[in-house]
Amino acid sequence: MSEYLIRAKGIKKHFPIHDGIFSRTVGHVKAVDGVSIDIKKGEIFGLVGESGCGKSTTGRTLINLIEPTAGSVTFEGKVIYDVENKIAVSTKDMQALRRDIQMIFQDPYASLDPRMTVGEIVSEGIVKHKMAKKKEAIKKSMELLELCGLRGSNVNKYPHEFSGGQRQRIGIARALALNPKFIVADEPIAALDVSIQSQVLLLMQELKKKLGLTYLFISHDLGIVKYFCDRIGVMYLGNIVEQGTSEQLFSNPLHPYTKSLLSAVPKTHPREVRERIILKGDVPSPSSHFEGCKFYSRCAYAKEICNREIPELKEIEKDHLVSCHLVGSGGEL
């Protein structure tokens, strides 16, 4: 039980679609449609999937930054919310919990307040949670900046004076300021160029070792996720279709969607022979209604049952979960 730091069960986030002069609700965009994730202490859990599949929304719903539609999340055995049983921590308790749960954002240009100095940005949480007085907090933020590979003397500068990679380090320093246990990293390297990406990743890895952190790492870069994460969940249209350790997933992908995703990773060797699986059609709208498997319309192996029944996430081998009718039930792909 205590092995897991954060456990999410069936979390959903549906955004209503308003239309007409009276803005009636005409439907829902099911951005996250029943995701269950258990993240162990000290592990890096990767969440991959194409744009718009709900990775970021999952991360934000998980830490209660946006209000969930359904599901429950427990953090260190404490229930953060449980929509079905109408349990939710009070706003005050949630604010206290924020000390343990932090986030690193995708866009280093939008995630820092342009009107504040770097010192104010990094120390904001420290001051808010009364962990130190303002002056000490600024001193602490200098240490944090040094920890993240920036000069501490930068505290009086403004974000516009830094490059993207440096800004991302400031963002990381801000997340670390509260000594969190769990960090959601929402595509922290997507907006950076390749040489900076590895620096930031190494920094995150180093901090994890030093401070005993746990990450939820959201990304669409499979090559990075493979080496950076311990376990990986593959998302498609608001659901996790396959989940397993990094090795399981890359050496033995089972879900047809995972297979096609992996086939799209650029080859690392020119003579490497690999079949490229190209999916037909487009991603269906996340607001449409599905009777069966969401991947049915694009799956090359689809059978009749796939359009009728929603496949469940089954454990095929230890830690390796797949939601496909055709896997493990004798019907080999």
């Binding site: 866009d107 342009p114 904001e124 949480g125 200098m142 505290v155």
Partner: protein, 290 residues
């Protein structure tokens, strides 16, 4: 490492005001405004006449070394009254704008940040207030409560907040979707902290621009109301009621020094405030670099 030897750098505000300094029209406006403010505030030191001192033997004097801008029908020094009138006109502009900004920013941020039915209610109130014809309400209030400088300030403040509330709401709607607001929430800040620490500083530029232009509008409406006899009551001078006092055909033809100076002052004040406001808008707009 100590805090003292850390690198100093320019805040976005400093950059904005540096840019403002390069705008010649805005600086001319700013200088004129400063001159008028200073001589109004230090009026007793600049003129040796009393504001309301009547000297009927010297009525309708032409401008001379004694009376720089002549005297009016009661022999009062026009220059002196112009200076004291400036106090009234400028303070009406300032106070009414402060009231408007206070109400507008509070309601605009509340509506914009919280959204939903709170926003709906506030914006409908704005719509209702926008339907009120300014002069009609002003005349009714002045008729009921009697004309006074305070009534002018309150009326133009209470009827003037709608524009700024709309601007502020629109700005808040775009700012609150930025990631740094979400980051602040992730740090555990509540809505009040976020509005005061992150949202207001980021929408300060349009508020400043609007407030500057609002002062000009306040001065104009004071002049208009006083001209109609509904604003500042004589013998207290204001630029508007000095104009009103000189509206007889005889004065218009023979005593130009009674109406040209206050008219010009209103004109140049509004013009310089508008120049300054435009300059501020250009200088503080983050989208315009250099």
């Amino acid at each position: 490492m100590s805090l003292e030897n850390s690198v100093k750098s320019q805040s976005p505000w400093q950059i904005g005001f540096k840019r403002l300094k390069k705008n010649r029209l805005a600086m001319i406006g700013f200088t004129l405004l400063c001159i008028v403010v200073i001589i109004s505030v230090f009026a007793p030191l600049i003129t040796r006449y009393d504001r309301d001192a009547i000297d009927t033997l010297n009525s309708y004097q032409k401008p001379s070394a004694e009376h720089w801008l002549g005297t009016d029908e009661l022999g009062r020094d026009t220059f002196t009254r112009l200076l004291y009138g400036g106090r009234i006109s400028l303070s009406v502009g300032l106070v009414s704008t402060s009231i408007a900004v206070l109400i507008g920013v509070t309601l605009g941020t509340t509506g914009g940040y919280h959204g939903g039915y709170i926003d709906n209610i506030i914006m409908r109130i704005v719509d209702v207030f926008m339907c009120f014809p300014f002069f009609l309400i002003a005349i009714v209030v002045a008729a009921i409560l009697g004309p006074s400088i305070w009534n002018v300030m309150i009326i133009s403040g209470i009827l003037g907040w709608t524009g700024i509330a709309r601007i502020v709401r629109a700005e808040v709607l775009s700012i609150k979707e930025r990631e740094f607001i979400e980051a602040a929430r992730a740090l555990g800040l509540n809505s009040k902290d976020i509005i005061i620490k992150h949202i207001i500083p980021n929408i300060m530029a349009p508020i400043i621009v609007y407030a500057t232009l609002g002062i000009a509008r306040g001065i104009l409406s004071e002049a208009g109301l006083s001209f109609l006899g509904l604003g500042v009551k004589p013998p207290t001078p204001s630029w508007g009621n000095m104009l009103a006092a000189a509206q007889s055909m005889r004065s218009l033809r023979l005593h130009w020094w009674l109406w040209i100076p206050p008219g010009c002052l209103v004109f140049f004040m509004i013009l310089s405030i508008n120049f300054l406001g435009d300059g501020l808008r250009d200088a503080l707009d983050p989208k315009l670099k250099q």
